[in-house]
């Protein structure tokens, strides 16, 4: 008889009724937009950068949020995230409130606000794009850090502070409800 350690078998996987086997795609609404690819996202990104260069910050932000690849693959989402972060970094601090006011009002305004909140959290979760190579803790804390947070220094820290600024302004406009929806919504960006 082969030695089989029954204690190590994860019986939940074998049970079709188990919560581990919960079909997550049942939480996606029927209104989910069609899948997009990274090349679609790249073309959107170039349009958006053009708008931004032309000085239309509000139009750029509006467009980039309206075209979020909710049904896209991971690559498309990554490309789009980079475009959103570029737009956010390209808007001066003094203009934030005015731009946000314009983007989050009118038809579909609250959807755009929720979408922007998703990007802020995703941006904060992602390792800083420019400071990503730096992966050692600045202080020898004794903790093994797999991913340095790079707060307050280097490129990643700068990106973080921009996102936090936007977060503060967005909460003023869209409220805490918007943060809650980032957690519940399965249409990830």
């Amino acid at each position: 008889m082969a030695q089989l350690n029954y204690r190590t078998i994860n019986i939940d996987v074998l049970d079709p009724e188990s919560s581990i086997n919960f079909p997550m795609d049942t939480l996606l609404p029927a209104t989910l937009p069609a899948p997009t690819t990274s090349s679609d996202a790249a073309s959107v990104a170039s349009q958006v950068r053009q708008l931004l260069r032309g000085g239309d910050a509000e139009g750029a932000l509006r467009h980039v949020l309206d075209t979020a690849p909710l049904g896209g693959n991971d690559r498309a989402k990554e490309v789009h995230l980079a475009a959103v972060v570029d737009v956010l970094q390209g808007i001066r601090q003094g203009e934030m409130s005015r731009v946000l006011e314009g983007v989050c009002t009118g038809e579909g305004g609250s959807e755009r606000a929720d979408c922007l909140m998703k990007y802020l959290y995703k941006g904060m979760a992602a390792p800083g794009s420019s400071g990503g190579s730096k992966s050692v803790s600045p202080q020898s804390t004794g903790f093994s850090q797999i991913q340095a947070r790079n707060l307050g220094e280097g490129g990643g820290g700068q990106q973080m502070s921009v996102l936090l600024n936007w977060h503060e302004k967005l909460v003023e406009v869209a409220g805490t409800g918007s943060i809650v929806r980032v957690m519940t919504d399965r249409r990830t960006v």
Binding site: P29, D114, R181
Partner: protein, 363 residues
Amino acid sequence: MAAPEAHHLFHNPIADHSFSSDKSTLAVARDSNVELYQKSGNKFSLTDELKGHEKTVTGVDIAPNSGRIVTCSQDRNAYVWERTASGWKPTLVLLRINRAATFVRWSPSEQKFAVGSGARVIAVCYFEEENDWWISKHLKKPIRSTITTLAWHPNSVLLAAGSTDSHARVLSSFIKGVDTRPEPSAWGERLPFNTICGEYLNDSAGWIQGLSFSPSGDALAFTGHDSSVTVVYPSAPDQPPRAMLTIATRLLPFNSLIWNGENEIIAAGHDCEPYRLRGDESGWQLTGTIESKEGPGAGSAREESALHMFRQMDLKGQTQADTQLKTTHQNTISTVRVYEEANGAVRQFSTSGVDGRVVIWTI
């Protein structure tokens, strides 16, 4: 608007509360017991305890006409309590569930009640004369996760259920011999047991925490952990709904809601105060809070003596303690119930929450 009538019963969370039809008795779920309070003057005093459950009681409901109390608990049991000469007598209900019971409500006919559970079933319970006990039938089919809340349609056949799989569903709980055949409605014409009359998911998903049929039964509102309220107007059986309107709020999530007429919803939850929503099929919006924070005690700038101020600064490094919320409830509201109504128009409603308070509000 009159000031809300607050009763601070104890320092424990209240999972659920229910008033008897004459409003003299208040049943409150506290830990593994249900406490009964009687109104004396303008206060409620503890008169009786219903002991029997072994784990936290999650739901309690008093039938308005028969006065029977049904309770359910995390110990997977439900009891029906009847008043006898020697006190309250419990009857065990055979729920046949292997997870906690989470929610219980009598049907408007009082012939049945429904128990939601973590076992992904709703037990619809009715009394069987032959064997002299309460037995249950399970609504099972499309439910993928724990049932968190239930609401009855006025016809006592249709049952709305909210679940942690983010869906609100309308199901038929028709039981032959107990129910009379219901009038056909927009929800369905023939309604055998476990007919699925509607299954709704809003865009931002989120666990459903509270739901309710409108007084006519022709609309369903549900609220979930995504800080939104969704109102559904069904069109015809097996057709997509005529309108499904989602109001995304900027507040913390609501836990419970009731209708006031066909054009107003009262919802309350993690923001510790009730809010009002108004609208119709063409659109709904949040109109504001029901609580007026102008009364005495609400003003945060109370006169403090200089000695007190310096003592506070010394002890806590602040001039005044701001641990009190300005709302009547001092913590999350978990249940909103109609207290007094006439023809679907609510005049008073009651709320209970984590702070151990039961508050009666006059609109």
